[in-house]
Amino acid sequence: MKTVEEIKAAIEAAVPDAAVEVVSNPSPSGQHSLRLAPARALEVAKFLRDDPELTFDFLSNVTGVDWPDKEVSERVKVTRQVTKVVDGVEQTVEESAEETRKRVEPGFLEVVYHLYSVAKKHGPVVLRMRTVNRTNAVELPSLTPIWRSAEFQEREIFDLFGIVFTGHPDLRRILMWEGFKDYPMRRDYVEPDDFEYEPTAHDEVLKRAQEHRNREQATPAAKERPPGAPAGNGETREQGLIAE
């Protein structure tokens, strides 16, 4: 099979303004991927499928990736003017110092396609596409018109990551119900508070138990129960375990 660079060259020869980038993979597998510009992705995909040498006729897998906003801190050398008293005379001297600067790299959502060729017995080739941000510009072109097998997987990514695939024939939630508002596979997803005591006492569970208890104490309405019925939360069971 052609290498990723060769495929990139072939794409650029066929679709001149494709703007394909190679995303290298430093791990031993060395499975480099091609990052497509969303604007021309459909033509590139069509080329990859129909080119007699490549013939990627099988889309095996579509995945979503969430890249949250990243805070980067870097040390920068700066020169600044400092007033100093040198030999009894006040002077303005330039002084160089190191400073730690923090900036926030905006996050984005990414979709990854794995292509194989059944006819040529080669693959995989990994395609990536990135959204502009994670909030309001989350549209990417759907590749379902090229590979039908993308249909349900793109629906799943829409459901769990919130990437909107334009050109998808039937973009609805597939695993969660209609009317569900969150995107559970995003890194900043907050789980609903249906906590229940678990005997696996690792830090995460204990933290959630504490949060749940605080919330229960803050809202006395949540404590209203029919008379005689014991509390339906983790609190009592924990107390019961302690009382043993």
Binding site: M176, W177, D193, D194, E196, A229, P230, G232, R237
Partner: protein, 202 residues
């Protein structure tokens, strides 16, 4: 009545019994489960009905495809939050007397998916469960054991008094509220009338 006397009279060809015993014997000997499976535990449930394990020995071989004709709901598998309202609705459609066996780790507590966002942490949050079976999945023997426990439970139910089962109590609730699928979670997250967390008794 004295057990020894009963056996003696039985040897003479005289059957002595109470109405309660007869009634409960009839009920426990023909518990018809609903034809209903949710995940991999259903495969074990199917195995239980087949010739090797033979659930028919307990009078429960007739799996009914309609909740109207079924007595027992075996929650065999993971109950997702998307499926939970339908499970409660099916339970509501069953006629009394009705029983529930929660089969497997997922059905009783959420199992390996307990810390996930999409799986109900135990069906006993919404409907009353008679027998819980742990296991992932439980073997057919465990389901048979649960069946025998359920039969013992039916056998020991008095027909009168405060301890009588729900279906003989006109004031007991017959319908259980079906949870709504809300924006973030099922609403309400649990039915507190049927889901008081059991106290640990040792």
């Amino acid at each position: 009545m004295d057990q020894q006397l009963k056996i003696e009279m039985g040897e003479q060809g005289i059957v002595v019994t109470t109405l309660q015993e007869l009634y409960n014997w009839g009920r426990r000997s023909s518990v018809w489960p609903m034809n209903f499976g949710l995940a991999c535990c259903a495969i074990e449930m199917i195995a239980t009905t087949m010739a090797r394990y033979d659930l028919a020995r307990f009078g429960a071989e007739v799996f009914r495809a309609s909740p109207r004709q079924a007595d027992l709901m075996i929650i065999s598998g993971t109950v997702t939050k998307k499926m939970a309202p339908q499970v409660v609705r099916l339970y509501n459609q069953m006629g009394e007397p009705r029983y529930v066996i929660a089969m497997g780790a997922c059905a009783i507590s959420g199992g390996p998916f307990k810390q996930g966002y999409n799986v109900l942490k135990g069906i006993d949050r919404y409907i009353p469960v008679d027998v819980h079976i742990p296991g992932c999945p439980p073997r057919p023997e465990a389901l048979l054991e649960a069946f025998m426990m359920l039969q013992k439970k039916i056998d020991s139910q008095p027909l009168t008094g405060n301890e009588r089962p729900r279906f003989l109590d006109a004031g007991a609730p017959g319908e259980f509220p079906v949870p709504e699928q809300g924006e973030h979670d099922l609403e309400p997250p649990a039915n507190n009338l049927v889901w008081p967390v059991a106290a640990v008794i040792r």
